[in-house]
Symmetry: C2
Subunit: 288 residues, 2 copies
């Protein structure tokens, strides 16, 4: 599945090339970008990929390198093609800085249309104290080789209507959460799996912003078809992930009033909870 050479590296990978942002000369804080068609699913550009792109721009605009908490409100659907990111430094402090960023694209008449607006607080993950007093435990799921990917035969089809993004990700789902793929959803709002980039690039704080929004929606396991457009997505990056595949567990507890929440947690190979996210998404219209 990998289209790039095996074992790409952080800084030299498909993900890095496709999240590159170019400072616009003479306009401090403004970056040009190209939304790659490689991260689309049914024509929609993946929201986590877009968040990583915004995160990269903010990392360049702010004095601190790493996203600690990112809040994104999704306004209009993005499409592959040119985009501009406008950042604003809201506050800079000794250990934290806060910025704002907007992703915009161009309407046919050339006017700008805002796609996403983000508030984010950045820091330096490598400078954090190493105290850990956690009660969280990694999600119970089978080892990597017992989880299921697209190559595991027709009983595990790719995401319905899938497209280019599935080739760039190495996702292997917990068999307990793939009932939807064979018409037998569990009825539980859970989705779990191993996550990697297909070209072997290791995770970093920016790629975590993609990871939290990359698995199939929990609504599939609730027996709902159709898409769940993100209204708002909040991500906490809690430490720099160790190399190797990540474990991702997503839970929906409350589907009501036309919306659902998706809580994701991401664990690294060192057994640390490296990211937590929550999104509010619109419920799919169609029942199974």
């Amino acid at each position: 599945m990998a289209t790039a050479p095996a074992q790409a590296t952080i800084g030299d990978s498909e993900f890095d090339r496709d999240t590159a942002v170019t400072p616009r000369p003479g306009e401090p804080g403004t970056f040009d970008a190209e939304l790659s068609a490689g991260w689309t699913i049914i024509r929609a550009v993946n929201g986590g990929y877009l968040l990583a792109l915004l995160g990269r721009a903010l990392g360049q605009a702010l004095p601190h390198p790493d996203p600690l908490t990112v809040s994104a409100h999704y306004l209009t659907p993005s499409v592959a093609g040119p985009a501009v990111i406008r950042t604003q430094t809201v506050r800079t402090g000794r250990t934290l800085s806060t910025g704002q960023a907007s992703l915009l694209q161009y309407a046919e008449d050339g006017t700008e249309v805002e796609r996403i607006r983000v508030l984010a607080t950045y820091g330096d993950l490598d400078a954090l104290p190493d105290d850990v007093r956690t009660t969280a435990v990694p999600p119970a799921m089978p080892p990597h080789e017992q989880c299921l990917g697209p190559s595991d035969g027709p009983s595990v089809p790719p995401i319905p209507g899938s497209s280019d993004i599935t080739e760039r990700l190495d996702i292997r789902l917990d068999p307990a959460t793939v009932g939807w793929a064979v018409g037998a959803p569990s009825g539980r709002g859970e989705m779990r799996g191993w996550f990697g980039l297909a070209d072997g690039r290791d995770p970093d704080p920016l790629s975590l912003l993609l990871t939290v929004d990359a698995l199939p929606p929990t609504s599939f396991e609730l027996g709902l078809k159709g898409w769940t457009p993100t209204v708002e997505l909040n991500v906490h990056v809690r430490c720099r992930p160790a190399p190797g595949p990540l474990r991702v567990a997503i839970t929906t507890r409350n589907l009501a009033g036309g919306f659902l929440e998706e809580d994701a947690e991401v664990w690294d190979t060192a057994g640390r909870l490296v990211a937590q996210s929550r999104q509010l998404a619109a419920s799919p219209r169609g029942d199974a």
Copy 2:
């Protein structure tokens, strides 16, 4: 403890008076406000109260009335006194609209200092479909009369260094989560209790923004003293709460790297999950 007449009403209560915002003539989207000393704790103005105030301004500025998801980044500590709220309409749609708001105060030299910046998506809670497909269940906690409030004697002291806000809230904590008050924290990052406004005003979407940040910090039950300043707070309001006391359960799973998350859920008397929140806060420095 209630200082206002018993059973205040929505729109005519201490909370409503203290979250009033006044449109500034000639400056659309700008509101003047007075941060009341009544919602302070150890001189710091409560972050949930401030969020409610910002939420009220956005509700007046946007075409939709109710906060559905609110993301707040806390920049500098607020103090009681004059403030200004500047709002911007980011996008308006048929069912949702998104806005931004900044709370600012004045430095001694008169320059403005930004306290909080918020992104929020609003809608109309009364227009949402009534589908419910939830697996969430209300937190297990004793009935209201078996939970403990400040009047239950010296074994349940008010919040350390407490001040005016405790008189405006009617919080009764689950005895299982008040060990901290007698020097015997449970070691679990949990805090649960019943929440009401002391003057009897019923909950509404705006007061929920206060409710999610009103209980003692979970870090007390982890045996940590000192305060946990909020870096960022995200709130989903999922439906209009029924009258009567709310149940609030807050959980911290991961204290690491100098930060902790606090996940709150709020349930109404009709047994519905009316709000979910998550905040990233700085860990207290001192161990017990």
